[in-house]
């Protein structure tokens, strides 16, 4: 009976933040941008778009915007608008998935370390320290270059790089929550360790983690774009914003639109996540 109770309460407290969201213009702008891309991504198969990998050889002579191709075409004559929308689909699938998996791993590590302390904590914290001492991009480059670029491997790399940071936050929150008397009260009911961790402690980490979650979505979006740009993103011909920029940079002096449009798409989505995170922080501080 414990599990449903936990989700029930989390579900009840979240709307209170949702309900207050409209009072922060920053958060609303951020949410608007994110929703814009989510709607486009969901609707992509329904929109009257050219196939993202179809090459229009006729358009290659005049790759700029035209009636057929609103945003023009890329160096291979593929419709930019279609590739941007389909590319958004990948980002919006991979980034949240990677962050959610990273959160699952990171929360588990942080809960165990903060709850059991001692050698469990020492082992988890040392391991996290080693990973965190890598410059992040270096870690990504070495990992992906060796295990190969694919959506799954990007998720693996993001999890490996982000989970230690999440674990550190959760561990800190758990350490401070452990002093709270409601935890002692749970012991006085003979609750199990797992119950205390998942039902008494984890729901109370929610506040700080929501902000971090949004920031990490933004940062993971940056990562996915950057990996694409470094040639370590999704293998071609998949539409990938970072990869599209990379492909077009050699032509930037001639056809700047080819790299500019995907860049703007990426920046707008990241900005959306970051504004949302900022608005939520502001709201939670106003409590």
């Amino acid at each position: 009976m414990s599990a449903p109770t936990a989700t029930e309460s989390a579900g009840r407290a979240t709307p209170s933040l949702w309900r207050r969201l409209p009072s922060s213009p920053v958060a609303m702008v951020g949410l608007g941008i994110v929703l814009f891309w989510i709607v486009l991504a969901l609707a992509a198969p329904l929109l009257p778009l050219a196939a993202p990998n179809a090459q229009d050889y006729m358009a290659m002579g005049h790759p700029g915007s035209s009636a057929r191709h609103w945003l023009g075409v890329d160096p291979l004559g593929r419709d930019l608008l279609s590739r941007i929308i389909w590319g958004g689909r990948t980002v919006l699938a991979v980034a949240p998935l990677a962050v959610i998996v990273a959160y699952t791993v990171g929360c588990a590590m942080g809960l165990l370390a903060g709850y059991y302390r001692g050698w469990v904590d020492a082992a988890i914290s040392r391991a996290a320290d080693v990973i965190l001492s890598f410059p992040v991009v270096v870690l990504y480059v070495i990992l992906i270059a060796n295990i190969g670029p694919s959506a799954l491997n990007i998720v693996v790399a993001v999890v490996l790089a982000s989970a230690p940071g999440i674990a550190r936050i959760v561990r800190g929150l758990v350490l401070s929550l452990m002093h709270q008397e409601f935890v002692a009260a749970a012991y006085l009911r003979r609750e199990s360790d797992v119950f205390v961790m998942l039902v008494e402690l984890l729901p109370n980490c929610r506040g700080p983690l929501i902000t971090d979650f949004c920031l990490r979505l933004g940062y993971t979006t940056i990562t996915i774009g950057t990996l694409g740009f470094l040639g370590l993103g999704l293998p071609p011909p998949n539409p990938d914003w970072g990869g599209m920029v990379k492909q077009a940079t050699s032509m930037i002096t001639v056809f700047p639109h080819m790299s500019l449009y995907p860049t703007l798409a990426l920046v707008s989505l990241i900005l959306g996540f970051n504004l949302l995170a900022d608005g939520i922080t502001e709201l939670s501080q106003a409590d």
């Binding site: 008397e181 409601f182 002692a184 012991y187 006085l188 009911r189 003979r190 609750e191 729901p203 109370n204």
Partner: protein
Amino acid sequence: MSLLSIRNLRVEYTTARGTVAAIPEFSLDIAQGESFGLVGESGCGKSTLIMAIMGYMGRNGRVAGGEILFEGRDLARASAEEWRKIRGGRIAIVYQEPATALNPSMTIGQQLMEVPIAHGGASTAEARTRAERVLADVHLPDPDSVMRRYPHQLSGGQKQRVVIAMALLANPSLLLLDEPTTGLDVTVEAAVLDLLNELREKYGTALFYISHNLGVIAQVCDRIGVMYAGKLVEDAPAAALFATPRHPYTRGLLGSLPRPGADKHTHPLVSIPGVVPSAGRAPESCGFLTRCALAQPGVCDAAPVPMEAVSGGHLVRCARWAEVEAPAATPASATVAPIAQERAEIVMRADEVSRMFPVGKRRLLANDRLSFVAKRGHVLAIVGESGSGKSTFAKVLAGLDAATSGRLDVLGDDVAGKPVRKRTAAKVAAVQMVFQNPDGTLNPSHPVGWPLARALRKFGIARERKDVDARVAALLDMVRLPASLRHALPRQLSGGQKQRIAIARAFAGNPELLVADEPVSALDVSVQAAVINLLLRIQAEHGTTLVFISHDLGLVRYLADEVVVMYLGQVMESGPVAALFDPPYHPYTEALLSAVPVPDPSLRTTRIRLEGEIPSPLNVPPGCRFATRCPRKLGAVCDDTPPPARDAGNDHVIHCHIPLERLRQSEPVFRHAS
């Protein structure tokens, strides 16, 4: 001419929900050199008033009307440059939490010397001399070394002395004191209050002292004002306020405090119903209207009630003050019937219980060979200051910690080394606990009924949903809360309501022994009485044994049957409550009693002040742990030899080298002035 004259002051705050008048209308005069105390519970606007006087209200606060005349100038209209001269120069302030009021990355000397440099342009050398002199004035030993230290290297009492020194450096004519002793131990508090009285005479500074504690204010102030919902409701000379309080709220406040000599059998506490309204939510006419037993429609709720003079210097804001002259009769029903002292079964017996924490290579004995008993249905109070180890014992008893040696028999089993996980379910249900901090006691993520239902299920009291629901409702009713409250989240509850839930939770498993660790110390005075009454009623009804941990001797005397006095991990004295508050005393008990701020100026107390600080528990004397501060120390024997347990009869035991006959010769600490 008054030094400070506040005329029809109105302070407003802009919030997300609109403008709130934290102080709707406030008038007050303080004369040169006077000592005025303002009493009020949290949320009554007293801190807002202090900050309005200092012109420090943040971005969203402002003086919306009236004037604050200080030495003839209106502070509400002062320029930035005028403010700079007044703040710290003419008006200084001592804060509630000295730990946060001092800059952690500057030495005490740097922080003190800034004041004379900013006011009057002293040179560095002059500033240093003056800072050292004022540090000596506040009785800090070795001012030179204090000057070089950082705040975290000083104790709480020392930090407060530094803050007081800083306030006095520029010789201000008005000193604002914002709960300066809240959070300090009683013996330290008593010393700080003495210091304030001494400095007031020496510097001739007028004091404006705000506090929630009537006892503390009675020690320092000549005149006392009572504030409620942003308004002054009563203003009288100290003696008159305590002798003939006129406002129902003042009377309520006094009734909720245990008086010296009163106990639960003879003088039950009278609580004020309801809670303090949040800022700006109180009725316009009379702020106390909704909580007042004497409120009369048509009289009290018509127009704003004006301040009226009862006699010379005694003002009250009550439409019916003339009718509330007679003291309210004590409702006899609320008293707790005395229980038979003899032959009560022993429920808990501690026998040389110790709890040692290894700290590096050293050992910290938080509990050192504690031995005492608790009897069925009785209230055993454990009293001590911070560091006494009383909370450690509470945790060991409840099973949240384990003793490292000794025997602790609870209902027939030794549980000394057994935390909750090693105890049987029945034993865990039988020993429950109520915690100190109302804000931490309930999980903010779950509705308040959840821990009750959870406890009922875990202890096998109820399993079916219908059963659980009925039981939860019954528990809520037991603590006088509406059943609908079970779906509320903890943040929607007041502190008192949270503690009621905590009591209901503890009683869910029908405990035989309840450990209550300072259950009301974080609550407002008027709410404290209600929670104490509730706890005692349920405890008596269920025949539960209550182990009550407290630092408040007044409260302990009121509710305890037996008392244990602890100091630095050891028992100093134990015995029946009546025996403990009369000679023979353990010297520590005597000092503790004399430090209690008594809310009654007609009562004389022996003045015993402890020197120095509580030693670090890592560095305790091998003999009597109290020897380093004992005013009656005999000599080397106290330092070297553990004191004998002297039996004063009737289960009254004193651990002291001084023979009983000499201890018996002490004067009683409390005496009525004839």
